[in-house]
């Protein structure tokens, strides 16, 4: 039986995070065609489950890095929504001062140490964070978010080897959404291979879960994070999940034919938010009333974030030279 049943604060945190990711991203999708968010933007709609389950389990002294598809991870780690939207708008108030855009997010105040746009690029960096935690005897752990595509980069293998060798406090959260851009797994990896089993053979304790089942995600994340905190070394979890919209940009793209409508529909019915709400209802933890109330708060935050971004100034052109060196 899951621990989540007895932890109301966590139930709420998960729910809020689910709503926040979904609603903030839906708003991005809605407004993107206006042409004011002028940078490549990768949405996590449909993939909210894993980061939301993780949200209540990390402290701000825990560290995290992510990828091109980082919005959900940034938010789950506690990153400021306003600063994120402002960043996507390229504004001076953006979390990276407009220099990074959607793919380069950071919120040092909550331990979100950065996301970058080169596939695999932050994997060793996250492992290095964990190394520093070990050397400095810090209490936190490091979380590395990766996709199924990123796992094909040699740097993942090298990083996993080092993390296992040094028994570093690092959690690899792999969101396997079956695609790398338009490429299905079968174009890229040997048939029948299970990612988490391969990683286990590299030397990292590994497991697997349904990324759209938030309660299951929470349970397994909690167990593994506790192990890492107890000093037993790195963990890898592969979560099955699915991206609803196009790889990059605001639209649906099933018309392109790289995946079937049936596949899409099968995943859509397994959507993480409604499932989690049902679980809360079934266990009489929350009511529909609660849901609307919380969602209302989130809607407010979403509107506020966009207003903040829209009304913020662009960075001054003259600052373009700043920060080349410190």
């Amino acid at each position: 039986m899951t621990q989540l049943l007895n932890n109301e604060a966590h139930q709420l945190k998960v729910l809020k995070t689910l709503y926040l990711i979904r609603d903030l991203e839906e708003e991005i999708a809605k407004r993107y065609p206006e042409g004011k968010m002028r940078c490549p933007t990768h949405l996590s709609i449909g993939q909210e489950g894993v980061p939301s389950a993780l949200a209540p389990l990390l402290f701000s002294y825990d560290l995290a890095v992510s990828t091109h598809r980082a919005h959900a991870h940034y938010l789950a780690k506690g990153g400021c929504p306003k600063a994120m939207i402002a960043e996507i708008y390229g504004k001076a108030t953006g979390c990276s001062g407009g220099r990074g855009g959607s793919m380069h997010l950071i919120d040092e105040s909550v331990g979100f140490k950065g996301s970058t746009a080169i596939v695999g690029n932050t994997i060793p960096i996250g492992v290095g964070l964990a190394l520093s935690q070990q050397i400095k005897s810090e209490q936190g752990i490091s979380v590395v978010f990766v996709g199924d595509g990123a796992l094909e980069e040699g740097v993942f293998y090298e990083s996993a080897n080092f993390a296992a060798l040094k028994k570093l406090p690092v959690l690899f959260v792999c969101e396997n959404n079956l695609y790398s851009v338009y490429s299905p797994l079968k174009n890229r990896q040997p048939e029948g291979r299970k990612l988490y089993k391969m990683v286990e053979a590299i030397g990292i304790k590994s497991t697997h879960a349904d990324g759209n089942n938030v309660v299951e995600c929470y349970e397994i994340l909690q167990e593994k994070i506790n192990l890492i905190r107890a000093g037993s070394g790195p963990q890898f979890i592969e979560f099955d999940t699915y991206r609803w919209r196009e790889h990059c940009g605001p639209n649906y793209d099933n018309d392109l034919g790289y995946r079937t409508a049936q596949e899409f529909d099968n995943w859509k019915v397994r959507e993480p938010i409604a499932r989690y709400e049902n679980w809360l209802l079934e266990n009489t933890l929350f009511t529909q009333n609660h849901f609307s109330q919380i969602r209302g708060q989130v809607t407010g935050l979403v509107q506020e974030s966009f207003e903040f971004a829209e009304s913020s100034p662009f960075p001054d052109v003259s600052t373009v030279n700043d920060y080349i060196y410190r």
């Binding site: 990276s96 855009g101 990123a150 373009v320």
Partner: protein, 352 residues
Amino acid sequence: MSCKELTMAQAVNVALTESMEMDESVICYGLGVDDPLRIFGTTANLSENFPQRVFDMPTCENAMTGVGIGAALNGLKPVMVHQRLDFFLLAMDQLVNAAAKWHYMFNGQSNVPIVIRLMIGRGWGQGPTHSQNLHAWFAHIPGLKVVMPTNPNDAYHMLKQAIQDPNPVIFIEHRWLHGQVGLIEKGSHSSIGKAKLLKKGDDITIIAMSYLTVEAIRASEALSKNSVNVELIDLMTVKPIDWETIYESVEKTGRLLVLDTGAETGSVAGEIVAKVSEKCFAHLKAAPSRLAMPDIPEPTSYGLTKQFYFGAKEIAEKVHGMLLENVDSSLYRELDTEGHHDIPGSHFKGPF
């Protein structure tokens, strides 16, 4: 099909198609070559027409470069493509330590006929890790050839040549050029390593490459209205450089401006300024100069990139200043492009 108007993306596609039809040792691979978007359309129909020789790949740039090298060593002619040059940084060991040196270090006994197509660009929020123009790196490595065509016809011919070239060739496509339209002229074409004299003039030599040639043409036209006669050279190949054409021009004009899409320090433009200063010193009437990108990672923000790029206007003002001293700020206002600065201007049909 001779004398048909094509976009540069289409020209690349035709060059690939014809190369694969003509030579069954040509293979073509890279992330997305067979996906719905087909690398900005450049690989359209290839996987349908040559299913055995066109394939998608896992996200592992380093190994896949080595795979291409190995295939090349056994008689294939691989064309690999990366949608951003930046991704290819993962493969520098294979490129520099293997491909570039193989022919030399094994005493000419084997060679690596591989083509690596790299997309460069600027603007529209590509930002620091999706907009790097690092051709200067490749130009520094003995054994590589580096090509940066400007128009559809040159892209078509130079890609076909690159594929048949027995050496590793880096083929760099600027995304702001993919939509540019031009006539494809079949038949002979100058070869890799030759620059092209685009416009004769006596006052100053401008050397441009890739997208900046488009801006330089506009600048030259505007300058000629102010009686400045530019001699404009499209470099086309940045390694090996066509020094003869450059020296000849500078010896005539006595003045030099080199344009570069990369960061200034250590740029190909710098190499040209250096070499010309060494070799044509006696002919120089004034200090040679260059316009290149600032030594700054490209920021993402629309606000920060506003004055980041230079174009026809800045080129014209620079040249005007080199020749006639004071530039009235209104003189080249016509060259200001309308609309957003982070996409190709209205004079120019290009995708992002």
